[in-house]
Symmetry: C2
Amino acid sequence: MTEETREPQRHTGFLLRRAQQRHVAAWQHEVSGDITNVQYGVLAVLARRPGLAQKEIGEELDLDRSTIADVCVRMERGGMISRVQDAQDRRRNVLHLTERGRAELKRVVPLVDEVQVTLARGLTAAEHEQLRVLLGKLLGD
Amino acid sequence: MTEETREPQRHTGFLLRRAQQRHVAAWQHEVSGDITNVQYGVLAVLARRPGLAQKEIGEELDLDRSTIADVCVRMERGGMISRVQDAQDRRRNVLHLTERGRAELKRVVPLVDEVQVTLARGLTAAEHEQLRVLLGKLLGD
DNA sequence: GACTAATACTCAGTGCACTGACTATTTCAT
DNA sequence: ATGAAATAGTCAGTGCACTGAGTATTAGTC
């Protein structure tokens, strides 16, 4: 009756993985240059809330300590952010945008929406919105 | 009027990335052992279609040549598959499950559905199905 | 004030995922 | 039959993402 082995291609996780790959591909196509989607996230959060510590940025973007550390190291190396030990709490690295980081953010912002459009090319606006709602619900908001 | 910088956390791509992370986390929680979701995909495809080449498996799972090569190397090292040069076309590596691979697939199959359930805990069955439909549409099937 | 907990970060190791450059092999056109 | 194009894999390099172990610093308890 039931199939011996369900096709892995139908699983939700498989679809999510592929959709995420499409997003990365769309990003690289629309946004030229070295900056990645995750790095854009760091810039955008930091623009609103300068002086956050690595840990807090990581929480905003749902990245664990090691991952956000890696990202920050790369971004500091690329001259987009500064990382300075907090004088009040010397365990913390506080982060700020550099001029280059601010400029890069400004360059990228108008392109970001195009990436979403490209990604959702096969969906109507209503379907796209519903997809976001469902993903938000899956994530528990 | 419009915000200077839209919150990156609201973008579809951001939600997809987080949802995919949840899937990986659910997988690791439900399926103990070394096997990953992608590796399960290789096992499941190979069970139905033994003797496929790396390239073909990669196409099934939407992975590029380098990625599927890495995965296959690891799985061969782990004793789950065999990789043999095709006598007819010596460019190809043909893949087969080993006994260990077959056993591992058998172990994992019943757990896979639980992963999907865990992942979609916040959704009704109808919402879950709709999410799959929308993702399929986004991917262009 | 000293001991313990908790916190923030680093470091090493592993896996997925991509590009671009390269090798080997097969196929196709002339 | 040969030379060009296409195909399948490998290899090096980069980035995201996690775990587990370790360090330094702060905060809390006695």
